[in-house]
């Protein structure tokens, strides 16, 4: 069963009184353990597709199934709970909670899931070690570099033990070295633990490392390396 199964999905906005077809009949299946990059020029619909797959945005028509569960008909509250337990997110601007330390940012997700304090402490330590910044655990995001913040964001995304991680332009604000380190780390997690990553990106360094590349244009899939 695919972890992501988007079937003939459309997303239409009203823009200046005219309909804008941001996603125009996309079907996409992502299997467990994939390391996939969704690429394309700005405005091609890659972020909109990821938002819909992540249950952050509604679809105009079609179906989206996550691990066999249809999410496009869920209520806002059901979607929030679904995201909490099944999907990890990494954003371009890191988006960590500034008043919480690196460790607390990770534990925050687990606490929402109802994980006991002792287990939270163990797992957050393991995650911080996995992303290579265990020594920064008690530091707040504002005092971490961009690369370090994005590592914490990855650890936070993995804290809920999700079925997959959606990363929207995760390297856009990072320098080359931080990008390389972050991607290597994610690839390692993908290889070792089989964690599924789906990126929306136009960063060639991400594309080079992706094992599957799905290209979009005008809201449609124009190429998919898995299909070759």
């Amino acid at each position: 069963m695919p972890v992501i199964d988007a079937r003939d999905v459309y997303k239409t906005y009203e823009g200046n009184g005219l309909p804008v077809h941001a996603v125009n009949g996309i079907s996409l299946r992502v299997e467990k353990g994939e390391f996939t990059a969704v690429i394309g020029p700005s405005g091609c619909g890659k972020t909109t597709l990821l938002n819909m797959v992540g249950g952050l945005d509604s679809i105009t028509s079609g179906e989206i199934l996550i691990g066999g569960t249809r999410i496009d008909s869920m209520s806002g509250r059901q979607l929030t709970d679904f995201r909490l337990h099944r999907i990890g997110f990494v954003f371009q601007a890191y988006n960590l909670i500034p008043v919480l330390t690196a460790r607390e940012n990770i534990e925050f997700i687990m606490e929402l899931q109802g994980v006991e304090a002792a287990e939270r402490a163990v797992r957050s330590r393991e995650l911080l070690e996995a992303v290579g910044i265990a020594e920064k655990s008690d530091i707040r995001p504002g005092k971490l570099s961009g690369g370090q913040q994005q590592r914490v964001a990855v650890a936070r995304a993995l804290a809920s033990e999700p079925e997959f991680v959606l990363a929207d332009e995760p390297t856009a604000n990072l320098d080359s070295r931080a990008t390389a380190e972050l991607l290597d780390m994610m690839l390692e997690m993908n290889r070792q633990s089989g964690i599924t990553f789906v990126f929306a990106t136009h960063d060639q360094r991400v594309i080079d490392r992706a094992r599957r590349v799905v290209a979009l244009d005008d809201g449609k899939v124009v190429s998919d390396s898995a299909a070759r």
Binding site: R83, F89, F91, I97, P98, L100
Partner: protein, 406 residues
Amino acid sequence: MLWTLAWRNVWRNRRRSGLTLATILLAVVLGLLMRSMQYGSYDAMIASTVARGGHIQVHGEGYWDNKSIDRSIRADAATLGQIMTVDGVVDLVPRLESFALISFGDRTKPAAVIGTDPTVEHRYTALADRVVEGDYLAEGQRGVLLLSSLADYLGAKVGDEVVLLGAGYRGQTAADLLPVIGIFDLAMMGNLETGLAYVPLVAARELYAAPADQVTSLSVMLGDGDTAWATADILATMLGTEYEVMTWHETSKEVVQQIQSDSAGGIFMLGILYMVAGFGLLGTVLMSTMERRREFGVMNAVGLRKGRLATVLFIETLALVIVGVILGLLVSLPIIYWFHLHPIPVSGDLVKIFQDFNVPPFIPFALDPGIFVAQGLVVLVMALIVASFPIVSIRRLHIIRAITGR
């Protein structure tokens, strides 16, 4: 962790939170000082009123509307004993009063002549302490205590004999020649009644030719003034229709009205004060909500329900208000306590105003816990209203727009 999150968010922008706290603190301090001062003044006015007339007055039926000595009542030992058995009644002040002309030499002035038990009278009105010349009255003594302004008008001095002439009980002539035992001054208690004289109860009965045990009023003193209405009902039922039983609220309506009108003014001022503080708090909360929309979007995206997000914001507002109120209380309490022990003396024209209302010329401060509870509740309601704005904002939160800043 939601509490931790909320608390740290409060201190995220220290300067802004500090200013908001200062606004709340100032509002609480000013509000408490104002209300404490008002309630202190009301307490003094009520105490003065009650000292003069009792918490409850018992008269003959119709006496209050037609103050004739003919409507006096018998206050024999049995009646007094019966009243004293009522729960909460601690003392009784019998008085027999009417009006008479008081003459000395070629000068005459009408005056209220009050026959009273000198010992009991002093217990409540501290009348003996007001004597500025001569002595205070003693029970059974034949003599009169004149208000200084009346004595001055008549030109009478201690030891002089003054003539009292008026209408006595049941149409008899009230006439007597009494020595001036002492002269008292009511400057601290008010000086409205320029013609006022006290005589011992027995001498008053002789003057007005009233039977033994006859009084025009019985002032009933209670241990707890708050039970006045309930006790009055009990007394009215017990004494029957030949008596009228009135609380001080009925016998001193002008005091009640003055308190109500002053209190309404105070509440209006408080409203303005808290409105200013409320808008200060609202500004902080709205600013804090607007500038963190992206953060809220992300938290909702990663699995924090909107309801719990709204709870965090609610706790933040409440925490800010509670800290402000606690600081306000900590600042206010010592000040109020100090002024409770050391009332502020007034001067100039204010002295006259205070005297007009029969209260000592001081601004006392009340320590009634109700004042503090009321202020706390008002601020809490204000916080609840202000906290509803970010809650509405969270309910309307659109994740994508929040995260992208659109």
